[in-house]
Symmetry: C2
Subunit: 332 residues, 2 copies
């Protein structure tokens, strides 16, 4: 099969990374732009297309391929608040400099790009990346849940991303898990995100240590969180480290997070009966302290007719590749 | 366009109704079998095919069409615990006489039926009926929620029923709405069904009247539920009548049911972003006492990006036609 090439773009609040991706999932080369330094979208789009052109000109030393952006199979862009129908992002909350609608397709066309330009949010891109290059190859029904600052999701039904009537389906982070529960950044209460995002983990740890207190021997255990760490200084990563170091309050924190996420996963199964739910993102790296209670809760809360039909797995893509590969996989 | 004909079969615990359905959605004729009297599935299948043959032989007086079962476009069957992939039902809880797997396709083939035989659960059939003959014509994304003894659902994404990897996706009645909430017949706790089914309505009324007591002037109001009605005698239909008659406890009951169902509908939107959620079934007939608080709760709990994108509507099919038309619509 002839090798084809895609530019995958991971657009973040701080940096935007571009990668030249070969059809076998190899990232040939990468380059980074500082998103934060741009004050207007057309200049930013201009620099993205230029950077992509440089990656294409340098080409793939292994195969000898070289070209221009119009020799690509296309551009795939993972971006916040993406509208895949229009190929744009709309008022992304972490990119306040790009007001209104920032349309990638229109800007790229203006800059002479004639090949396809596909845009979607990062969780949807991750789901497609898993399907094309990762653990979901050949699956018709699966869900990707991304844990990070927020909680995102990409849902695949019959081998296709679910976009819904608005283009923005698949926001399981804002499924209300506990009616009238924790206040969410979206303005409502009890969203899954408030319990299982990095912020939710921190809040849970703070609650747990207020309940359980600080063990007398906390200073004898490297990695445990001492009383000198104020609530405002607790970070989800240090809670993760503490759980792996055996801090009982961090272990209890992830037990609760796993319990909540297990209910959410069981609920998702009543919707689309996926064969697998994949997880990715920083908080999942804690491993068993999260995964063991998560799987236990999932089994406990799964409706009997689905028992044994759906497993929970970590994403099979590398952390430093998933965003680029996911974006690249949007082109097809 | 040439008119074609389908036999739609609504298989219930007490009765099984067959209808000859013309392609324009007109039910030409119907016949009823007593499901309860059959002790084995092959005899039951035999009588279904015979009854269908009689409907075909009598034909459609309006068009002059007459034929045999093999002149049909096919058979569509709405049945409990259906497995659409295999064309069977599996251990339906209300039909204990049919043990194990009852395979419609195999039995009908044995009886000489050569045309397509499609089987699905009644909520999925209702969704397809709404899409082919009702208010969802032309919609790519919608959800049907059926309220009755239980709560069922049929989910349409990209114009197709979501069946998932198991064939049994779309069981929103068993979405856990309130973790560790009411005990459900499925053995778990807090399922939507325990709050919004006929049984859930009764339980809520009982709770509300224990909280609010019986108004002193209850006997002056026709339709209100008096203290002589024991908890065991409360029925969802009488609660519905009482709410329309102004019984404050019945009104409060449906306010709570609408509140819960509104959260469930808002959660469903985060999944597939439908343009409409249709409701059908006995408890929905109470009308505004349910619909007004439901729509209020739905708007309150809907994530901002979906505001205005999804409405809640009653099924546009007639109550006494939806089951037959839904079953018929499974054939296509």
């Amino acid at each position: 099969m002839e090798k084809t090439y895609v530019i995958g773009i991971d657009l973040g609040g701080t940096n935007t990374e571009l990668g030249l991706v070969r059809s076998d999932g190899h990232i040939v080369a990468r380059t980074i732009l500082s998103t934060a330094k741009y004050t207007d979208f057309p200049t930013f789009a201009d620099d993205m297309v230029k950077a992509a052109g440089e990656l294409c000109a340098a080409g793939d030393p292994e195969t000898g391929w070289q070209g221009t952006v119009n020799d690509l199979q296309g551009f795939g862009i993972g971006a916040p608040n993406a509208d895949p129908n229009r190929g744009c992002m709309v008022e992304p909350p972490n990119l306040k400099q790009f007001k209104g609608v920032s349309n990638f397709v229109e800007e790229f066309r203006r800059l002479g790009v004639t090949v396809p330009v596909a845009v979607d949010n990062d969780a949807n891109a991750a789901a497609v990346g898993e399907m094309v290059y990762g653990g979901a190859q050949g699956m018709q029904h699966f869900i990707m849940i991304t844990l990070g600052t927020g909680v995102g999701s990409g849902i695949v039904v019959d081998g296709k991303l679910v976009h819904g009537s608005t283009g923005t389906a698949g926001e399981l982070g804002h499924n209300i898990l506990i009616p009238n529960g924790r206040k969410c950044s979206c303005g409502r209460y009890g969203c899954l995100e408030t319990y299982t995002s990095a912020r939710g983990i921190v809040q849970t740890f703070i609650e747990v240590r207020h309940e359980m207190g600080t063990p007398a021997d906390v200073d004898e255990h490297p990695g445990w969180i001492g009383s000198e760490v104020t609530d405002a200084e607790v970070h989800s990563i240090t809670v993760g480290i503490a759980s792996n170091a055996g801090d009982p309050r961090a272990i209890e924190t992830f037990r609760r997070v796993g319990y909540w996420l297990g209910i959410a996963c069981a609920n998702a199964v009543t919707f689309s009966a996926p064969e697998c739910i994949f997880l990715m993102g920083g908080p999942t790296k804690v491993g068993e302290p999260l995964l063991a209670p998560l799987r236990k809760s999932f089994e406990e809360h799964l409706l009997n007719i689905y028992q044994g039909s759906c497993r929970i797995e970590m994403s099979k893509l590398k952390t430093n590749e998933v965003a680029i590969l996911g974006a690249a996989a949007l082109v097809n």
